[in-house]
């Protein structure tokens, strides 16, 4: 079985990793540093008596803005909540490396579906529902609900339809009820992304009878109603939802009781918005919060030294931070200019200054011509060589350099600012004058989408780690996620060939060529994969890094 991963940036943002973080203030603030020395000594003063063992308090800088993850503009956090509140037909497995759990992109198991089969020609996926699944209101899940949910995905004006199309799921005819608990998904071609798409946050299964009661002629798919209400059957139900402030979830015991189910540990989950990163750090360190996943690197380092919390660090394997060029306009349409810049950057300094080394570098690879494996993102052979850089720049026809701008979004300032300063300084050495622009997120996203930024940094995350798909999404076609607007016929050929290639060796060969081409042409410079640092109370166990980079409360437990 070959499954192609749909990679996805979260819909709401152009910044991937950060989500709509621009709204949050992500800076650690403080005044008298001297006092900070005294802090650890007097730290555990107050324990919150009200916090009991089966309630989880989650703190985040961002907000849940809708309960319907398919809504245009849904935030990152909304996906996180929907993963816990709704069921999808299938889900990814998880694996453990050391003490850290991560999702396993190679294993897809049933969630609301008990099991699934893929036909030999790869064109039919048959899914069988769990017999004892119920919705939150206690009514049984029917196959009509599933059909309606899938139809809604391809029909309603939402984020689901474009997502589904990448898995060749485009029309309602493709979803066929084949029995009281069986549905067939018919594909025109054996698309490696189809099944994985059904594990995405967009592929929620909806209590159609409940939802349809709130549908109107203008809004046949009850999209309006579902923003504030749920028609779900997942592990948690929404107890209280105050947009922008908090959301409280309670455990759905029926979910754990169904066949082969395991009940989540926490009876109640409180997810609260605290925009100030400093406060989030203080809360978790003082034991007032159980889990935080969006802290700044310097806070994490300070916390590591104090050893009062448990820090689950894992580099985000499906994510990369990069420098993108506008390859359609001068001077960056000239490959030598891009190569020159790639040779001039102080990668290690940038990595140290931006992330304090908390991540996985994607520069200084050992290979020169061909990568040894096809995992992606992987380190590329980029290294600092000023002589070479000057030579390349001269060859490109810019012996005296040129002037350009370097942009980043406000929400990324903490990591992008040191990087920008170093880039400006480094490029000045080879004669390129860089003007730094910090743009509000909305403006940055607009300019990025309209391909009007000559040189900028951003972070991208794909929901499924498939080498082919990363190249297909990020380096081909004139679309939003081709950050560099790169138009390389060779890359188009390679990805086109790889998409439906079933022979493993030939697929891997194509992937190697794509990686080598990227390393040579540098339409964008991949820098590193930042860490996710999930900071929890010492007694919280079971944190799993998920492809959607939010918390799966179902796997957490207090020990």
């Amino acid at each position: 079985m070959a499954v192609a991963g749909v990679t996805s940036r979260t819909p709401c943002d152009g910044i991937g990793h950060e989500g709509i973080r621009g709204m949050g203030i992500t800076r650690r603030q403080g005044l008298l540093g001297a006092l900070s020395f005294a802090a650890p000594a007097v730290l555990p003063v107050m324990a919150d008596a009200r916090q009991n063992g089966t309630t989880l308090r989650h703190i985040t800088g961002n907000t849940v803005n809708t309960l319907d993850p398919t809504m245009l503009g849904a935030t990152h956090e909304s996906f996180g909540v929907s993963m816990n509140v709704y069921d999808r037909l299938v889900t990814f497995g998880r694996k453990q490396s050391g003490s850290i759990w991560t999702f396993d992109p190679d294993i897809i198991t049933g969630e609301l579906a008990e099991r699934y089969e893929i036909s030999d020609d790869g064109c039919t996926i048959t899914l069988h529902l769990r017999p004892d699944a119920t919705w939150h209101d206690g009514t049984p899940v029917t196959i009509d609900d599933v059909k309606w949910s899938l139809d809604r995905g391809v029909s309603a004006r939402s984020l689901t339809a474009p997502q589904f199309s990448s898995g060749s799921l485009t029309s309602t005819e493709q979803f066929r009820v084949a029995g009281p608990r069986t549905i067939e998904i018919l594909l025109p071609r054996p698309d490696r992304l189809a099944l994985a798409n059904l594990a995405m946050p967009y592929a929620i299964m909806i209590n159609s009878r409940l939802a349809r009661r709130h549908a109107t002629p203008d809004d046949p798919w009850a999209q309006q109603w579902m923003q504030q209400n749920t028609a779900a059957g997942g592990a948690y139900r929404v107890e209280r939802f105050t947009p922008g402030v908090n959301i409280i979830l309670t455990r759905n015991d029926a979910w754990g009781a169904r066949s082969a189910g395991t009940s989540p540990f926490f009876e109640r989950v409180i997810s609260q918005t605290v925009p100030e990163a400093t406060t989030r750090a203080s809360l978790v360190e003082r034991g007032d919060a159980d889990i935080v996943i969006d802290l700044e690197a310097y806070d994490v380092i300070a916390m590591m030294a104090r050893r009062r919390v448990r820090i689950n660090s894992v580099f985000q394997s499906n994510c990369f931070t990069h420098l993108a060029f506008d390859t359609q306009s001068p001077p960056f349409d000239n490959v030598k200019v891009r190569q020159a810049i790639a040779s001039a950057l102080p990668y290690q300094d940038m990595f140290t200054a931006s992330l304090f080394g908390r991540g996985h570098p994607l520069f200084d690879a050992g290979w020169r011509e061909t990568p040894s494996d096809i995992s992606f993102p992987q380190a590329l052979p980029l290294a600092t060589d000023l002589t070479l850089a000057r030579q390349l720049l001269a060859d490109a026809g810019f012996p005296d350099g040129f002037a350009t701008t370097f942009s980043y979004a406000t929400s990324q300032a903490t990591t992008a600012e040191p990087m920008a300063a170093l880039i400006q300084e480094a490029l000045k050495r080879i004669g390129i004058r860089v003007d730094i622009r910090k743009l509000p997120d909305a403006e940055f996203n607009t300019l990025e989408a309209e391909k009007r930024l000559p040189f900028y940094t951003d972070t991208a995350a794909g929901w499924i780690q498939r080498t082919y798909y990363f190249f297909y999404l990020y380096f081909t076609r004139n679309q939003r996620w081709n950050f560099s607007s790169w138009n390389s016929p060779r890359m188009v050929d390679l990805t086109g060939a790889a998409r439906f290639e079933t022979d493993r060796a030939r697929y891997e060969d194509a992937c190697r060529k794509m990686i080598a081409l990227l390393a040579d042409q540098v339409p964008l410079i991949m820098l590193w994969q930042p860490n996710m640092d999930a900071v929890t109370s010492p007694d919280i166990d079971g944190f799993t890094y998920q492809f959607h980079r939010q918390i799966d409360f179902r796997s957490l437990r207090r020990v």
């Binding site: 800076r27 008298l32 900070s36 300070a302 300032a413 300063a421 300084e425």
Partner: protein, 285 residues
């Protein structure tokens, strides 16, 4: 009765002697201005030069104020930032002062329909929550130094109109203004060479208080990520960024720029108070 004593002292002597705080503030302001002007020559290092291997060093003999996360010398950056911050404050306040006072003077003097119209516009401007307006303006114009100046100037503008208008309206029926008419002065001339010099001291108080406020405003915007872009050193940005490193004990990154920022605002405020005292010893505030 205070006028009795007032008459016995020269204004300058009173200025420096009526309160030692004013004298100190004046001295400190001059010192700050001097440091800002000579910053490029007295800075020990290039404020923009990074030295990542020597990042985050505590204050010591080589770097008196320590180094930041890119290994830049904090002292040099504080000095360079002072230059920029004072320039921002002075030009923003200068701009709004020039424009506001001109408009305010003519409105106050002429009165009538124009005055009412301008009064309305001022009402509209002051009905805005100022900080949010500044945020919106910087967001709309883009966060460059010039735009920060424009935004600060625009939100200060109505206050100068108000002050100038009130001051002029209070004087327009005074004998010497009527006398100026009798002497054959045209209206613009009366406004510019008679009224303007007389209301300037009052405006100067407002300006000196505003200078501090402008710097505070820039710092607040920087905190929200709408301030000056890196790597240009600016106090507000330095405080906001430096605060990151507090929890890990890198206090020098926030302490030095923070103290200088506060000190500067304090000086401007004390100076404004001093000016006010000088002009009206009865209503010191």
């Amino acid at each position: 009765m205070p006028s009795l004593t007032a008459r016995w002292m020269s204004p300058a002597a009173r200025f420096f002697s009526h309160s030692p705080t004013t004298g100190i503030a004046a001295g400190a302001t001059l010192m700050l201005a001097f440091l800002a002007l000579t910053a490029p020559w007295i800075s020990p290092y290039d404020p923009l030069a990074s030295d990542v291997p020597h990042a985050l060093q505590a204050p010591g003999p080589h770097h008196w104020f320590g180094t930041d996360e890119l290994g830049r010398d904090v002292l040099s950056r504080v000095l360079a930032a002072g230059r920029l911050d004072l320039a921002i404050a002075v030009s923003a306040v200068g701009l709004s002062l020039a424009a506001g006072v001109t408009v305010g003077c003519f409105c106050g003097y002429l009165g009538g329909r124009l005055d009412r119209l301008v009064g309305r516009v001022v009402d509209v401007l002051t009905a805005f929550p100022l900080f949010v307006l500044a945020m919106a303006l910087v967001a709309a114009l883009g966060n460059s130094v010039e735009n920060l100046i424009y935004a600060t100037a625009i939100i200060n503008f109505p206050f100068y109109i108000r002050v100038a208008r009130a001051e002029v309206a209070a004087r327009r029926h005074l004998g010497w203004v009527e006398a100026a008419h009798l002497s054959g002065n045209s209206t613009p001339r009366i406004v510019i060479s008679f009224l303007l010099p007389n209301i300037l001291p009052t405006v100067a108080i407002q300006a000196s208080l505003n200078l501090g406020w402008a710097i505070l405003n820039a710092a607040g915007l920087s905190f929200l990520g709408l301030g000056i872009t890196v790597p240009t050193p600016e106090w507000g940005v330095m405080v906001a960024n430096g605060a990151h490193f507090m929890s890990s004990g890198r206090w020098w990154l926030v302490l030095f720029p923070g103290s200088v920022l506060m000190l500067t605002i304090l000086c401007f405020n004390l100076l404004g108070d001093g000016l006010r005292d000088l002009l009206d010893p009865r209503t010191r505030t």
